[in-house]
């Protein structure tokens, strides 16, 4: 028990902080912080699998998150029949062509020896393939995007419950990670960081500009939720009764019937959004717990020991007969798949997919701050990092505003410096993150909860 004392303390502090937000700001804010903390925790676990277990640096987290979000759209939106009618077939043919290019290149690579001729052959295959794609896909995308562009203008999805997308998102992200890993994993650490960062930017560029796929920057809104809607809750009698019972003491103090009804209505509206967020939090918590159990088991299994051995000395591990390249690829795929789940969860939570909002600061570098601050190589640390950093990220601006007001309280309201500082309060979150990261890296380089090696 003693060895877990710091873990328990850290989590207790975190929960108390969120409860304090609930008491002083509102339960709505507290729960949305909690939800995003849980999502961040999943992302951080993904990054931690790669960095903490295997020492692989992945600055492409943004790309995998976006792919998870894309999966949510493609799974849950109902198919657009007219769009399929005008361009669906061509698009399927295009997928076939891409597969054809890939397999013919693989065939050439395998059958023909390394020579100039082989290079030319590959170049010819790629050029012919691209021209074919252009000829077939060009008109088809135009037709698809012309189908009711204000509302659809894309192929739509499968029309299945959005929860499936959490798994599909993992497969999407894992698939991308397979390609990236094949290409880039041989690179030295900092080159790998740059390469993955740039590849994730390419992924975002494609999602942003291929309107036939997911409407691009026009966004997809109104995705179906796995939990009830506020409006339905507000009109269902069992929910109103529940709220009435819950607040009965408070309601009895009000004498006038009309007034009591008003207060009750307000309470029901507040309670409905809290209820929805609680449901989502429950779903997210299940994912976090399942992932935590799996990753803990993996970390302390023979496989986890092998990964640590590869991380700490890959040459020695190689000499012991471990296939370092294969294991690196595997762990790169697994970690990215977990990030993909988080991406799908986030779109499920928001109910909308906005490719324009995927920026490396928020989705790559912030997640890395979480991993480093929490403690790489320790799953509890990774989750704690997700919680603590997200909490600070959200609460830094209000805290900064409070501090600015406190320190400039002697200045008049019209003071230019004061106004300027108050206007720039949101940017103090970057400052907090940066200074936090630098301090942790300097004075506690293993993170808040350092990696623990259990000796057998």
């Amino acid at each position: 028990m003693r060895q877990y004392a710091n873990v328990i303390t850290a989590y207790a502090i975190m929960i108390v902080l969120i409860i304090l937000v609930g008491i002083f700001q509102s339960w709505n804010v507290a729960l949305s912080i909690l939800n995003f903390c849980l999502i961040s925790a999943v992302m951080t676990m993904g990054a931690n699998i790669q960095w903490g277990y295997a020492g692989l640096i992945n600055f492409g987290i943004m790309g995998y998150t976006a792919l998870g979000g894309l999966a949510a759209v493609l799974v849950s939106v109902a198919p657009v029949q007219e769009a399929w009618a005008v361009g669906g077939l061509q698009m399927i043919i295009c997928v076939g062509i891409i597969a054809g290019i890939v397999f013919s290149i693989r065939y050439v690579l395998r059958k023909i020896e390394k020579s100039k001729k082989r290079n030319y052959l590959i170049a010819v295959i790629i050029i012919i393939g691209l021209i074919l794609l252009r000829v077939i896909a060009g008109p088809a995308t135009e037709h698809i995007e012309a189908v009711n562009p204000a509302k659809t203008g894309f192929l739509g999805g499968l029309g299945m419950p959005i929860l499936f997308s959490w798994i599909v998102g993992a497969f999407f992200a894992g698939g991308l990670a397979y390609i990236v890993g094949k290409v880039a994993l041989g690179l030295r650490a900092d080159y790998l960081a740059i390469a993955t960062l740039l590849i994730s930017e390419i992924v975002i560029a494609i999602i942003k500009h291929e309107d036939w796929l997911s409407r691009g920057v026009k966004n997809v809104i109104g995705l179906k939720r796995p939990v009830p809607y506020e409006v339905d809750l507000q009109s269902s009698s069992w929910f109103i009764d529940l709220v009435e019972k819950f607040h009965s003491g408070k309601l009895q103090l009000i004498n006038s019937l009309a007034e009591r009804q008003d207060v009750l209505n307000q309470l029901v509206i507040d309670a409905s959004s809290v209820y929805v967020k609680l449901c989502l939090a429950g779903l997210f918590l299940i994912v976090v717990i399942i992932l935590l159990i799996i990753t803990q088991k993996a970390l302390y299994s023979p496989w986890g020991r092998m990964m640590r051995a590869i991380r700490d000395n890959d040459e020695a591990a190689n000499a012991m007969g471990k296939n370092v390249v294969k294991e690196h690829l595997l762990i790169f795929i697994l970690g990215s798949a977990v990030v993909g789940i988080a991406g799908a969860m986030m779109v499920t939570h928001d109910g909308l997919f906005t490719p324009g909002s995927y920026r490396p600061m928020r989705y790559t570098f912030l997640i890395w701050v979480m991993v480093i601050v929490g403690g790489s190589g320790n799953n509890f640390g990774a989750i704690l990092g997700g919680f603590a950093v997200w909490f600070l990220w959200i609460e830094a601006a209000p805290i900064a505003l409070f501090l600015i007001n406190f320190f400039t309280s002697h200045l008049p309201e019209t003071n230019a410096l004061k106004i300027h500082l108050i206007d720039s309060a949101p940017y103090f979150r970057f400052l907090t993150m940066g200074i936090g990261l630098l301090l942790i890296m300097r004075y506690r380089p293993k993170g808040i909860l350092p990696e623990k090696i259990i000796k057998h």
């Binding site: 290409v183 900092d190 080159y191 740039l198 979150r429």
Partner: protein
């Protein structure tokens, strides 16, 4: 005549813009490569350091304008560059002392320094946004064009106009001056040679009595100057917006790696490789072919290889291809 028109078209829309954009990238890429070669880490705060230096140039330009100081036809910002460079160098030396020095002395692995540079990235971005805000700022003044399109048409009687912005010429001229000074410094002076020796083999350089602290300080001084100049030139040509500067980090990294990281000359050329590739591949050649081909063969489509939305993606794809087939870059840099 049509042939000349086609050439002018290419000059106007591809070559002149690519030369000036390439110069801006080249300065940034040399910055990255110097830090990588001598301090041995990938600096993820590159874009924000550039915006930090440019911020001072913008603020000073406003101050000078309010005092009524100007350079006539040239932008006032040129006058502010030396002051901005001094502020920038001060900032970099402070950051080095507070942050990077500790890890350098501890001989931390490059990855850890790269992580630390992310902390610096956050802090620098916050400082810039707190001081000047996240908005788009234009600080160009003076004469906008050297050659206007319709003036050129009148002069030559051609169908196609050629317009040359003064900022483009300023960019190219200043880049050429700065880069030749840098190469002279690195190749001819004693300090420059000691820097190259330090970059090549640290232990050997220390043995021959080179003072590492001095080398590191001079690297930050030169890097600060380059970053500020590159940032100001980009801001004059387009506009100053912190987020755009942050994003520019990516093509700059691409340029540095394509040229061979750790090799300043490679970085210089890499900037142009990236700029030309981006513009060549995303330009619509329809008009160009209309001049060259007989009427019966004229193309219907835009003759564009990729839409301009994928401008950044082009440079990143080039980078990925280079990393795959020639990981040391086109001009041999440090071996991976």
């Amino acid at each position: 005549m049509d042939f000349i028109n086609a050439i002018i078209l290419l000059l106007n829309y591809i070559i002149v813009p690519a030369l000036s954009y390439g110069s801006q990238l080249a300065l940034g890429a040399i910055f990255v490569t110097l830090i990588y070669g001598i301090l041995r880490f990938a600096n993820f705060a590159t874009g924000d350091m550039m915006s930090f230096g440019t911020m001072f140039a913008v603020l000073l330009t406003w101050y000078f304008q309010s005092l009524g100081i100007s350079l006539g036809v040239l932008p006032t910002a040129l006058l502010t560059i030396p002051f901005a460079i001094i502020m920038m160098i001060l900032y970099m030396l402070i950051v080095d002392k507070l942050v990077f020095r500790y890890y350098r002395i501890k001989k931390s692995p490059p990855v850890q320094l790269a992580m630390v540079s992310i902390g610096v990235l956050f802090v620098t971005q916050a400082i810039v946004r707190i001081i000047i805000g996240p908005f788009d700022r234009r600080f160009f003044d003076g004469e906008r064009f050297i050659l206007k399109a319709n003036e050129f048409k009148e002069m030559t009687g051609l169908n196609e106009g050629l317009s040359i912005k003064s900022t483009q010429v300023i960019t190219i001229v200043i880049t050429v001056i700065v880069v030749s000074m840098l190469f002279w410094f690195l190749n001819k002076t004693r300090t420059g040679k000691s820097m190259r020796a330090y970059s090549d083999n640290e232990d050997l350089a220390l043995l021959s009595g080179i003072d590492p602290n001095r080398v590191v300080m001079i690297t930050w001084v030169i890097a600060g100057a380059l970053a500020t100049i590159g940032g100001v030139l980009y801001g004059l040509d387009k506009s100053f917006k912190p987020f755009v500067y942050f994003n520019n980090m990516l093509p700059i990294f691409a340029a540095a790696i394509v040229g061979g990281i750790g090799n300043p000359f490679g970085a210089f050329l890499g900037g142009y490789v990236i700029a030309f590739a981006e513009i060549f591949i995303t330009y619509a050649y329809k008009k160009f072919f209309m001049y060259l081909l007989p009427e019966s063969l004229e193309p219907d489509s835009l003759m564009q290889l990729l839409s301009t939305d994928y401008k950044f993606a082009v440079s990143f794809s080039i980078l990925v291809i280079v990393l795959l087939f020639r990981p040391t870059g086109i001009f041999k840099g440090k071996v991976l």
